[in-house]
C-alpha cells in the first residue's frame, strides 16, 4: 500500500523516555511465488500486477478488466469454486480511489486467496455474477455502501439501505453524523446538537 496517501499515525503524545519504534507505513508484504502464480502469470501476463503475501495470507493485484477472466480461470482451472466475499475499501486521496477485493476459497486445495484490483471513482467493473452466483448480493452491498456500479449485474440496486438514501455511507467522505444532521435540519428545522 505504498501509494496510499494516508495520514501518518500521530506519534504517541507523552511517550517520553522510550521512543516506540515507528511501524512501517507500508504493508510489509513478501512476494508470493507458487505453481499457481506462475500459471496465472503465464496465462495473464501483464494483467497481473503483483502477487504478494502478508502474514501468510496470499493475494494478487490485477488490472480491473482482468478480474473476471481471472476469477473464471481460477474457478475452472484451479478449482477456486467458492467466492467467499466481495468487498471494497475507499482511499479518497488516491487516483484509483477504490480497492475492490474478492476473497476466494478452493475446497480441493484447502487454500484461500484474495484477488484485488484498484479502480477510479466512476469506473464500472464487470459483475462476477456470471462466474459465481453469490456475487449478486455481495456486489449489491458494495454498490449500496460505496457507489461502485457493476456492469452487467442483473439487479443493480441498493440492498441494505432504502432506495431513496442519499450518498454512500462507507466512503470516507461520508461523515458519521451527516445523515442525522440532515434529518434534524429537514424535519425539525434546527441544527443538530450532535
Amino acid at each position: 500500500m505504498a501509494d496510499e496517501q494516508k495520514p501518518q499515525p500521530k506519534p504517541p503524545a507523552a511517550a517520553a523516555g522510550h521512543a516506540a519504534p515507528k511501524p512501517p507505513a507500508v504493508m510489509a508484504t513478501t512476494p508470493w511465488e507458487s505453481d499457481l502464480t506462475s500459471q496465472l502469470k503465464e496465462h495473464f501476463g501483464e494483467q497481473i500486477l503483483e502477487c504478494l503475501s502478508y502474514l501468510g495470507q496470499e493475494f494478487l493485484i490485477a488490472k480491473p478488466e482482468a478480474v473476471i477472466p481471472i476469477l473464471d480461470y481460477l474457478k475452472l482451472d484451479a478449482d477456486f469454486d467458492y467466492l467467499v466475499d466481495v468487498t471494497a475499501a475507499d482511499y479518497p486521496n488516491r487516483p484509483e480511489r477504490f480497492d475492490l477485493i474478492y476473497v476466494l476459497y478452493s475446497f480441493s486445495r484447502n487454500q484461500r486467496i484474495r484477488v484485488k484490483t484498484r479502480i477510479p471513482d466512476g469506473f464500472k467493473p464487470q459483475t462476477a455474477v456470471t462466474v459465481h452466483a453469490t456475487a449478486n448480493w455481495l456486489e449489491r452491498e458494495v454498490f449500496d455502501m460505496f457507489g461502485i456500479e457493476f456492469a452487467g449485474h442483473p439487479d443493480m440496486k441498493r440492498i441494505l439501505l432504502p432506495e431513496d438514501w442519499q450518498g454512500y455511507p462507507l466512503r470516507k467522505d461520508y461523515g458519521i453524523i451527516q445523515q442525522d444532521e440532515r434529518w434534524v435540519k429537514e424535519n425539525l428545522g434546527i441544527d443538530s446538537a450532535q
Binding site: Y54, L55, F107, H132, A133, T134, L138, R158, I176
Partner: protein
C-alpha cells in the same frame, strides 16, 4: 400489472413480513404466487441495518469489540472470537493458551445455544409446539454459565484482543461438566419428539433442496453445506484457536433438504459436547491475556480471518493504516450469504414450505442487516 401464468390465472404478489412470526425478525419476503405455488421470491432486507462497518471505522480496535456481538446476537461469542482472531492476526500475536481453550469451550457452548434456539423456533414454525419449551430450558443452562462468567447472557463480549475478558469463576469446570452430562440425554429427548415424527418428517423431507453445486455457487456454508454432502468445516480445514487438538467429526448428509439440515445440526450439537468435554478436562493454567499493548496499533496491512460460526463462515476483513482505529472493517456474515439461496430453494415450493425453508437457513436478521 399482474402477469398471466401458464394456468391463465393472474400471478399474485404477497408480502410475507416484515412483521411475521415465522421470518425470525424483520425480514420481508415478496412472494410471487400461482395459487399455493411459489413462482419466485424477493427478499427485502436492511430493516435492522445499523452500519456496523462504519461504526468500526470510527472506534478503536477495543471499542469496536462489543459491537460485533450485536450482529448475530444468538451466537455473540462466535462473533467476538472471529473479531479477536482477526485483530490478533493483524498484530501477529496469539491468545494465551488458557484463553484459547476457554474460548473453545465458550464458543462451543454458544454453538449449542444457537442450535437449540434454532431447533425450538424451527419446530414452532412447523407447528410442533413442545420442543421450544425443552430447548429453551437447556439453553437457559448455557446462558447461566455465560452470566456467571461475564454478567451478560446474550451479548457477552467475553473475549478481549489477546485473551479473555475475565478470569474463569470458581466452579466453571463443574458447571460445564454438569451441563455436558445432562445435555446428551436431553438431545435424545428432542430427537424422540421429532426425528421419527411422521408430520415432522413429511413436512421437511424433500423441501428446500440445495445440492452441493448450488451451495458452492451461492457461497452457502455451515450446516447447509454439510447437509448437501460436503465435508467442510473451518474448524477442521483451517483450524484456529487450537481446534486441531480436539477429536471430533464433521457430520454430513447427502440430500441437502430441510430434514438433512435438521439432522446435521442435531449431530453438531453432540459433537460440540464432545469438544467441550475434551477441552474442559485440560484448561491450562497461566495468564488469560497474551502480551498485547494497551493501545492497539497494528502495523499497516490487511487480513481476512474467518471462523466456523453456528451459521456458517463468519469472516472479518480488516484493513489497518497503522492507527488506533481500523481503516476498514468488513464482516462477511453467513446469514446474509445463505439467505441469498432462499429464492433458489423456494421456487416451486408451497407457501407453507417457505416457512420451513426460512427456518432451516437459520438466519438472524441482526447479522443479515448489520
Amino acid at each position: 400489472m399482474p402477469e398471466a401464468t401458464f394456468l391463465d390465472a393472474t400471478e399474485l404478489v404477497l408480502n410475507m413480513g416484515p412483521q411475521h412470526p415465522s421470518t425470525h425478525g424483520v425480514l420481508r419476503v415478496i412472494l410471487k404466487l400461482d395459487g399455493e405455488k411459489v413462482n419466485g421470491t424477493e427478499c427485502v432486507i436492511g430493516y435492522l441495518h445499523r452500519g456496523v462497518e462504519k461504526i468500526g471505522e470510527n472506534r478503536t480496535y477495543q471499542m469496536f469489540a462489543p459491537y460485533v456481538d450485536r450482529m448475530d446476537y444468538v451466537a455473540a461469542v462466535s462473533n467476538g472470537l472471529g473479531y479477536c482472531l482477526a485483530v490478533e492476526k493483524l498484530l501477529n500475536v496469539e491468545a494465551a493458551p488458557r484463553a484459547q481453550v476457554t474460548r473453545v469451550i465458550l464458543t462451543e457452548l454458544n454453538r449449542i445455544a444457537s442450535h437449540l434456539l434454532w431447533l425450538g423456533t424451527h419446530a414452532l414454525d412447523i407447528g410442533a409446539l413442545t420442543p421450544v419449551f425443552y430447548t429453551f430450558r437447556e439453553r437457559e443452562e448455557i446462558l447461566n454459565i455465560f452470566e456467571k462468567y461475564c454478567g451478560a447472557r446474550l451479548t457477552t463480549h467475553s473475549f478481549r484482543i489477546g485473551g479473555l475478558q475475565y478470569e474463569l469463576y470458581d466452579g466453571f469446570e463443574d458447571d460445564v461438566k454438569a451441563f455436558c452430562k445432562a445435555a446428551l440425554p436431553k438431545m435424545d429427548e428432542y430427537e424422540e419428539l421429532l426425528t421419527a415424527n411422521r408430520i415432522w418428517v413429511s413436512r421437511l423431507t424433500g423441501v428446500g433442496v440445495l445440492n452441493a453445486e448450488d451451495c458452492k455457487a451461492y457461497g452457502v456454508t455451515g450446516p447447509m453445506l454439510r447437509a448437501a454432502g460436503v465435508k467442510w468445516d473451518i474448524r477442521k480445514a483451517l483450524p484456529y484457536s487450537g481446534y486441531e487438538k480436539y477429536d471430533f467429526e464433521i457430520p454430513t448428509r447427502q440430500d441437502g433438504d430441510t430434514f438433512d439440515r435438521y439432522i446435521v445440526r442435531m449431530q453438531e450439537m453432540r459433537q460440540s459436547v464432545r469438544i467441550i468435554r475434551q477441552a474442559v478436562e485440560d484448561i491450562p493454567s497461566g495468564p488469560i491475556m497474551a502480551k498485547v499493548p494497551k493501545v492497539i496499533k497494528p502495523p499497516v496491512g490487511e487480513v481476512y480471518v474467518s471462523i466456523e460460526a453456528p451459521k456458517g463462515e463468519l469472516g472479518y476483513f480488516i484493513v489497518s493504516d497503522g492507527s488506533t482505529q481500523p481503516y476498514r472493517v468488513r464482516v462477511r456474515p453467513p446469514s446474509f450469504v445463505n439467505l441469498q439461496a432462499l429464492d433458489r430453494m423456494a421456487k416451486g415450493a408451497l407457501i407453507a414450505d417457505v416457512v420451513a425453508i426460512i427456518g432451516t437457513i437459520d438466519i438472524v436478521l441482526g447479522e443479515v442487516d448489520r
